[in-house]
Symmetry: D2
Subunit: 346 residues, 4 copies
């Protein structure tokens, strides 16, 4: 039986989340790439810019003005922040579903969004309907979403790590700490000095300790899980590796709890969250190229500090893979369609 | 229609070629993993050692003495040199096909083999029947092979790069130069000081300039292509990256030739050799995780030196992927079955 | 004026702390390398193993049994744990000062030491006299030390980061968190699978969350600073870089405090601790090859969580450089003698 | 005795060659940093941009228009190509010596220069007097140079590797091959996509096979050594490491020769060229941070192909270190003044 394939549009196909969507969708059994836009590269074959896609993607980039995106079933925005909000209204009006991999629709409080992202929101009226696409938290809403806000990379790793604790109410939700580390692809495919190989290689640093845009997004999710305001200290770091986020999470236990059991039960039915055995230390490479999140939970020296280790591939579960997972849910496809990629190790 | 699946045995599943076979075969539509042996790790679930395989490989390692490999359709040897030659005779006698990813059956002249590998050959009578598994050179023989000698990683990249030139007879076959660079996974998953991260990282060196085991293997293949004795200078280097071989090949042109056309025609029907457009420079990452070889040919300043750039993933086209490709040919499956993995970039 | 040079012995010169001592001492104006021992490499010129030392170190390794270490002014032990404790008594009896870069004399409570290091202590009677060589904490005692216990790499970065807070008594000393990351050279120059380039490269993981040998060492120091028992959660991680430790420290503020001023005053006279301006994020490479520790202190969102960022080169301030600094203090030399190396950037 | 220190000006202090000059000159016993210019960063303390220089460099960047460079003894241009040629005339007229680390004065034939660099030369009349600063080739001229053209990084490694062979006339000078590999710092500290960590990391590629600006520079030097026109095929590659060039050189032997002896004799008196013992393979890290060039020569299988392995740190012997070496020669200082840095290993 041959399912009719979804017609896919991708706005902004020249960044890392764009090429990663192409990697996944090129061989997705239910997807057909219809249009990939780029203002700067219009006319150039996509595979000329990304030779890894030779024989898999034959399309050229097309100018956004000339792409008939309204003919698509779903359009992914793999663009900088502030683009999707300008185009979503029109596409939705034409019955096209929209999945935004940027931050335009992630935060419910528009004033908070505008403060952190430094611009006025172009269509605040859509925010309420937008669904935050963390399937493990919001799966039922995602099924009916027309406009999907795909979570950020750090927020995915951090929220999945804290969720069992907060839903169970076993930790102090006001003193959470997330010490998170990201590979360099998380900074995107923009020419910048600080992410040059000779700058970021053989080097490690924290950044944004005073405040990072992912903080309000994470806090919003943690508060939803806890059912009350959560307080988070979030310290991101840049690692000298390409793909991967490692979140090391700290919380204070407020009541006795079999943590291993709690985590295993919470995620027992989740295809893309893997709770490792007691005493494990997940490696970022164990999820490289895959949509998996792997988690281990520890209680060092039996004290009251819980330590959660959570790893994802920032471009897959932290971006394009989760977007495809959301598409699958939205279109009633098997949730893992096109996502059964065995992680690349070594 | 459901094809009956091939029963697969893997001898020596704890090294990089072993885990790479598992990555590919775990989702191969025509393969069923039957037994994975390891003397040292018998009883341990494979996925405990390689968490990347969780949910894909449920088998434990089994002791070689207890594995019923004769029940397999095909057995892969992902072992050090010198193991397959001790077990191949018995398996073949029982009708099991054998694919050796090590070097035991690659070299036709047993005295040459014994000199370079420093041991007596345990079953020299099988060497003549063994087929050297470079599909682009030997496809027809591979179809009928019972014992397949899977090429080395350097030999694959170098031979595919020189083949068009030598078959066409347009270069001096006596003064070939292969300046080849390999990622660290090429050295295998053995604990050794010189491949520690703190030794091999942020570092680059040549090695084995005086003589490397892949030299006679490559020379044998080049001579077959040229129809006469070929002379090669081979300089391998260790690069600070995990996967990838980049071979930079030099030859002296002896007659005028449209090199681009020659290469394109030679590989026009090859699924796994991709000749890039004029002026290209293939990157190792453009084939990462895939069975592709990408090649570009240059004639700098229009002189008589031909420069060929050839890249592969040493663990895929240079080892496990090519072994699966050979299996597909041997069992009359589509040659690309299980091998349509889009390269991982970035 | 020519100072008489100190005669230096190094026991165990083949590991990373050994070669780093050689790098620093080879051009130290007041040091003369007298003997470098290695059981396995006796007779081999040191510079054959470490070509970086060609023209700087002419000595061969000498067998420990034949080295006349009693003729030295000071002997450094750059050995695995458990060696120095067997030889220290005899050397001290002959008037030789001993600096142990391993852990034998770091922990005052011998039963704690024996539990974490899994062996009986060979000379417990010396532990009380051994001085813990963190100059910023114990400078006066170091001046008179005969037996010096050089701190571990993590302990150096973590203790220097917490010290101002604990001495001032402005944080809850019972709920300290140290999320620490180390480069691969911290694991030493031993052949092990998990630190191979192809394992540790492009990868990040925590390890030892359940308990790490540096935990009791750090806790002892923090308790000394606080004047009461300190409680620490310590999570070490392995980074894909060669040199560098980045400690991200979290503490709960218990009274108002100008943190920047506190840190600057604490370290105002310290040559090797550099407090960065408000809002800074020290990079590991900013101290690469040097004996510097750079520290920044943050109070995110003005809340009650203090975040301290502390970076060192694990082989210099975290090992050999601090050992030389201690030697300088012990022998009344300028504390920075031989240590004015400008960090290597990029 | 206190020598009067040279007053140093650096034009363009924000790139890698600039910060490397600062690393070396900050502790050079005969140098005093007088002015470091940058149009974009004027007013900012140098050490704010490069924290590695804290406590070593107190100067701010100064606007070129306001810097009194004529008060300097020597001015280094660590600028893009095309800047030094605009300012050299005026400085020289005022008696200031000029050392250009860019390419403006390297090529004697101005039409060749203009073709490869794509601009008109601003002061062709100075080219003849400019001295090409490869000390091992031109030391005597360097002593008297007023305008010094500091060699490129690839040209240094390649020329030093070929020099013994060409001066002795023992190879075919028309069929030389240089397969050269450079670390990412060789591309400079410019924001560009292809040198981002996520692009250049875990990746290897050739580039510029059709023609690279260093080709005419190298050819000019090789021809000078050979006393006749030399023919070179030059293939540069980008390696995933920060510092280091590895040149693998191939030449055809035309007469019998003890190669090891030839190389050792050629460089017997050179402080910064180290010929390794027979059978060696120099590593790039063996010269990291130092002004050393290490060379090994091989004759594989006793054939007529000579293989030379030559490594340098591209920022030191390939740029700033060689510039300081040239300064030392020009001002009659010890040639190694300020350059006795032990290489950083690991």
């Amino acid at each position: 039986m041959q399912t009719k394939k979804l017609k896919i549009g991708i706005v902004g196909g020249t960044g890392y989340t764009g090429v990663e969507l192409l990697r996944l969708l090129a061989i997705h059994p239910n997807a057909e790439l219809f249009a990939i836009t780029s203002r700067g590269e219009a006319g150039q074959p996509v595979a000329d810019m990304f030779p890894s896609l030779r024989s898999y993607v034959d399309l050229p980039f097309v100018d956004p003005a000339e792409a008939d995106l309204s003919a698509c079933d779903v359009v992914f925005f793999a663009t900088p922040n502030g683009i999707a909000m300008q185009q979503a209204r029109e596409l939705l009006a034409k019955g096209v579903r929209v999945i935004d991999l940027a931050a335009d629709f992630r935060i419910k409080d528009v004033s908070v969004w505008e403060k952190w992202y430094g611009m006025a929101h172009a269509c605040p009226e859509l925010i309420a309907d937008a669904v935050y696409g963390l399937p493990e938290l919001n799966r039922e809403k995602i099924r009916h979403a027309r406009l999907l806000a795909n979570p950020g990379c750090y927020p995915t790793a951090v929220q999945l790590g804290f969720m069992p604790l907060l839903k169970a109410g076993v930790v102090d939700q006001l003193s959470l700490i997330a010490d998170a580390k990201s590979g360099a692809s998380g900074a995107g495919r923009k020419a910048e000095v600080h992410t040059l190989f000779a700058e970021a290689g053989d080097n490690f640093k924290a950044y944004g300790v005073g405040g990072h845009r992912h903080l309000p997004e994470i806090s919003q999710g943690l508060s939803q899980m806890a059912g009350q305001l959560a307080g988070l200290t979030f310290v991101p770091h840049l690692m000298p590796l390409i793909r991967g986020i490692h979140a090391t999470l700290y919380a204070k236990l407020t009541k006795p709890c079999d943590l291993q059991q709690l985590f295993e039960q919470t995620y027992a039915d989740e295809r893309f969250v893997d709770v490792l055995p007691r005493g494990s230390h997940p490696e970022t490479r164990s999820v490289r190229a895959s949509n998996q999140c792997r988690i281990a939970v520890h209680q060092p020296q039996g004290g009251d500090t819980v330590v959660v280790l959570s790893v994802i591939d920032n471009l897959v579960k932290g971006a394009a893979g989760q977007a495809v997972q959301n598409m699958n849910i939205m279109f009633d496809l098997p949730e893992n369609a096109g996502l059964e990629v065995v992680p690349l190790l070594p």
